[in-house]
Assembly symmetry: C2
């Protein structure tokens, strides 16, 4: 099974810290590197990670607060200096495109094409290996969570079955597997004739929840997620602040993970007030034992 890797480029919320950059991450799968949020300092964090500045083709911005998108411009300037040619696709909420374009016009003329796509509820990117969907969160401005979902595996091709039916070895096999119907000597064959559906497998799912108050939609979309990556700006003792600024406490994030039956919860986007990871972890584990605190530049593999 091809690994899915999540690299945390930063783990701090709202303001950076001496030892933590702003929250953002890369999900890597089958040669694609997907960047989620791009705050100030992201290009330097990427340089310090196993990733390359030039090998990211899709960026997903959760919302247009400075601490989630200001790193785009320096990164684009550096890639222009390095003469990038590949297109970069930037997904951002409504009016994000205009904001990014206005700033970029004052900073650099990119050496490559930038395609802007508006993030909306539902599937926003789909290819043969995975899809990315989005759903709205509850924050001061329009803010989206992003869901990475590996394609489900619909059974496995059973060569023995195919040979028994007399289907000749060759391209007909992949036609059948892809769902096409074929005819051989007047006989019709379909996918089910050559598949072993007992080998079907649900694709892995990673949910990235940035700035938000807890809402039921997070639970719905995180059902059985392999990893729920969730902001935990505050602790329960700062709940007033969490409510006021529309953020989540570690305990609330853990409750969401529990209700969603997520396999693992990874917390990040920590306020500088909470510098003790053990305290955050302890609070979350009261509700959900499979909790982990994201560390700077750490890569998690599933």
């Amino acid at each position: 099974m091809e690994p899915i890797k999540v690299t945390f480029l930063g783990t701090s919320g709202s303001v950076p810290q001496k030892d933590k950059n702003f929250a953002s991450l890369i999900i890597s799968y089958k040669g694609e590197n997907l960047l989620f949020d791009c705050p100030e300092g992201t290009q330097r964090q990427i340089m310090s990670s196993p990733h390359s500045l030039m090998k990211i083709n899709h960026v997903f911005i959760s919302h247009m607060h400075a601490d989630h998108f200001l790193g785009l411009f320096g990164w684009i300037a550096t890639m222009t200096m390095n003469q990038r040619k590949e297109k970069l696709v930037i997904y951002s909420p409504k009016k994000g495109k205009e904001k990014i374009k206005k700033i970029l016009a004052e900073v650099v003329k990119p050496s490559f094409e930038i395609e802007y796509k508006e993030t909306k509820k539902g599937t926003i990117l789909k290819n043969k290996d995975f899809e990315i969907s989005a759903f709205p969160l509850k924050h001061e401005v329009t803010c989206f969570a992003y869901v990475f979902k590996e394609k489900n595996k619909i059974g496995e091709f059973n060569r023995k079955k195919a040979e028994k039916l007399g289907i000749p070895v060759g391209p007909l096999y992949s036609k059948l597997v892809s769902g096409k119907t074929i005819k051989i000597n007047g006989k019709t064959f379909t996918q089910k004739d050559v598949m072993d559906y007992s080998k079907s497998k649900e694709g892995r799912k990673i949910v990235f929840v940035s700035d938000t108050r807890p809402i039921k939609e997070i639970i719905q979309h995180s059902k059985n997620a392999d990893i729920l990556i969730h902001e935990a700006t505050f602790l329960e003792k700062q709940k007033d602040k969490a409510i006021e600024t529309l953020h989540t406490t570690a305990l609330e994030a853990a409750t969401t993970a529990k209700k969603a039956k997520a396999k693992k919860l990874i917390l990040f986007h920590f306020s500088a007030r909470n510098s003790d990871p053990e305290e955050i972890l302890k609070e979350a584990k009261k509700e959900f034992s499979e909790t982990k605190i994201a560390k700077e530049l750490e890569t998690i593999t599933i």
Copy 2:
């Protein structure tokens, strides 16, 4: 003598490096902290230095290339979150103000006043302790060097002289020292009657030369400088690149320091191609032995 401190917030040129942020520095003297250039990541570098984000009131931008001003916006956003009230004065070359304002409008509404001043040749800031002047460099866009000059000390008050002349102890002393003329019993006294001019002292001078080709004006303005802080993007073996991109080699910077009879040369703004500080130092020392390589977050005191 009150120390003057220079803190290097970053030492890399054009693009950041794993272990080096973009070039910028703070000069501190008598409670004033002056920031020179503000590239991406500056706020986090300040957090890692002995300085405070909130205690800088003047910023001097050398030129409007991304790697010299992109850090303004995140820093202003963080100070706004921290509810800064003190005015910030930003000096930048012509049209810098418009560029900064356009970007800032897309990022954050500051909680404090920002005064924009255009950097022009000559003195741009003067107070009782020091003055800042600027002179144009030779780069792809309008670019200024900045000169920090401590006020000259014009002799020292000689109390014995004053007492001998029968001038009563009290406020008349400081009147005389400040240059005013006083009369006592029909007799006129001036500054020179109470001063020991043998104790005069030229103020210390620090010159900050960012992106440029070597030009004679740098030598003129750096005459006898206590510290000449100079870019050294390239080495002599990359001179073609230095000429093409309007930068300076380590040897060229050293030649400038030598001709200016500077007391100390500190090099920074290094290309990522030159990762060996010993090589840069060796090249510069051929011409000027009092050369030093700036280190990340290092503070130099004179």
